[in-house]
């Protein structure tokens, strides 16, 4: 009986993942305000543990200046206000982005 239950659970898992249903989208906030990028937009999110504290943080790239803002994960679904990602002591910029 146990193998049958396992197979059924695995099948159910595959089916639910394929036929994905989502809750209504929620706009993310940090430091009490909606996360937004500079004009002309093109927000590009990334979820990764940038500071090695065991919690994944939010990084958001933007078109303007090719800059990336880091929103540290404070836990309990809270993000700190954003700070520019730094590289070699300066605000990191990805060249080639007007």
């Amino acid at each position: 009986m146990r193998p049958l239950v396992l197979v059924t659970l695995l099948q159910f898992s595959a089916i639910t993942a394929w036929a994905a249903e989502f809750a209504a989208p929620v706009r993310l906030e940090a430091g009490g305000a909606a996360i937004r990028v500079d004009s002309p937009g093109y927000a590009a999110p990334c979820w990764a543990d940038i500071d090695g504290d065991g919690k994944k943080d939010l990084l958001v790239g933007q078109f303007d200046g090719g800059k990336i803002r880091v929103y540290k994960n404070l836990g309990d679904r809270q993000l700190a206000a954003g700070e520019w990602l730094m590289a070699d002591g300066k605000v990191a910029e990805v060249p080639g982005v007007w």
Binding site: A17, P40, A43, W47
Partner: protein, 267 residues
């Protein structure tokens, strides 16, 4: 003109080095190869590389999106080394391509069947996915893209759009996939581009609508005249009229281009 790949190498102390062009094993910057009849201005730019072990050989490869909406694979040899020539990723029906432009690959086992699928944002908005039907351990075999999250409804240009009116991402979507709430299901972060529209200072929404309708009439006439112009002088005059009209919009509306980040939690 080519879209170079940039990398911010991590340092041992957890900080980063300034962005550098990523080079292939031949020492030259990695670029998407141009095929017959392709145009460097559209086929090689707006590159969007993502690192993933695509061929399960233990090394990170690069799956790269571009303006056209197709995808290229640059095979990795480990330790940040990649073969110089990218390969167009194909399906049985031709190149893997999203609906819209600006392919934005995120490679993950979305349907939990043991192989890697491709999800992507698009210039049109929404999220699309291409199912890999190869199964665990086999070379990827992708089906064409289908919609996973529908794009936003097209809005009539010139209508007021306030930040408070937004209910989801609008266009030019960029995505990230992870289990953000720890419930064992993959969720999707979606970044976007949206143009917020408000009446110019001192105008009501009704006045904006009225002035916009009048401007639109002039605009349509100017564009029609430009399209109908046959000689160079007429074309130049019509083109000048179109260019003069465009900034006239600022007299009755304010636009702000920005982008937000939305979270879709999977039920």
């Amino acid at each position: 003109m080519a879209g170079l790949f940039q990398v911010l190498w991590g340092k041992p102390d957890g900080t980063f080095r300034a962005a550098e062009e990523l080079k292939g094993t031949d020492g030259q910057p990695l670029v998407i190869p141009l095929g017959p009849g392709e145009d460097a201005w559209i086929d090689c730019i707006c590159t969007r590389p993502t690192a993933i072990d695509w061929d399960a050989d233990g090394h990170l490869d690069l799956v790269v999106g571009n303006f056209t909406g197709t995808f290229y694979l640059f095979k990795g040899e480990g330790k940040g080394r990649f073969l110089p020539k990218g390969e167009l990723i194909e399906t049985d029906d031709g190149p893997l391509k999203i609906s819209g432009h600006h392919s934005d690959p995120f490679v993950v086992d979305w349907d939990n069947d043991g192989d890697l699928d491709v999800l992507s944002g698009s210039s049109e908005g929404g999220v699309q996915w291409a199912e890999n039907v190869a199964g665990r351990g086999a070379a990827p075999k992708l089906k064409p893209f289908q919609s996973l999250i529908e794009k936003a409804e097209t809005r009539e240009y010139g209508r007021v759009l306030a930040e408070a009116d937004l209910t989801g991402p609008v266009m030019s979507t960029r995505i990230w996939v992870d289990d953000l709430n720890g419930d064992g299901k993959l969720d999707i972060l979606v970044g976007d581009l949206v143009t917020l529209v408000a009446p110019a200072k001192g105008l009501s929404e009704a006045e904006l609508k009225e002035k916009y309708a009048a401007w639109q009439k002039e605009w349509d006439a100017a564009v029609a005249k430009l399209n109908a112009a046959t000689d160079a002088a007429a074309k130049q005059a019509a083109n000048q009229r179109v260019q003069d009209l465009w900034p006239e919009r600022n007299k009755f509306l304010q636009e702000e281009m920005t982008g937000f980040v939305w979270l879709y939690l999977q039920k």
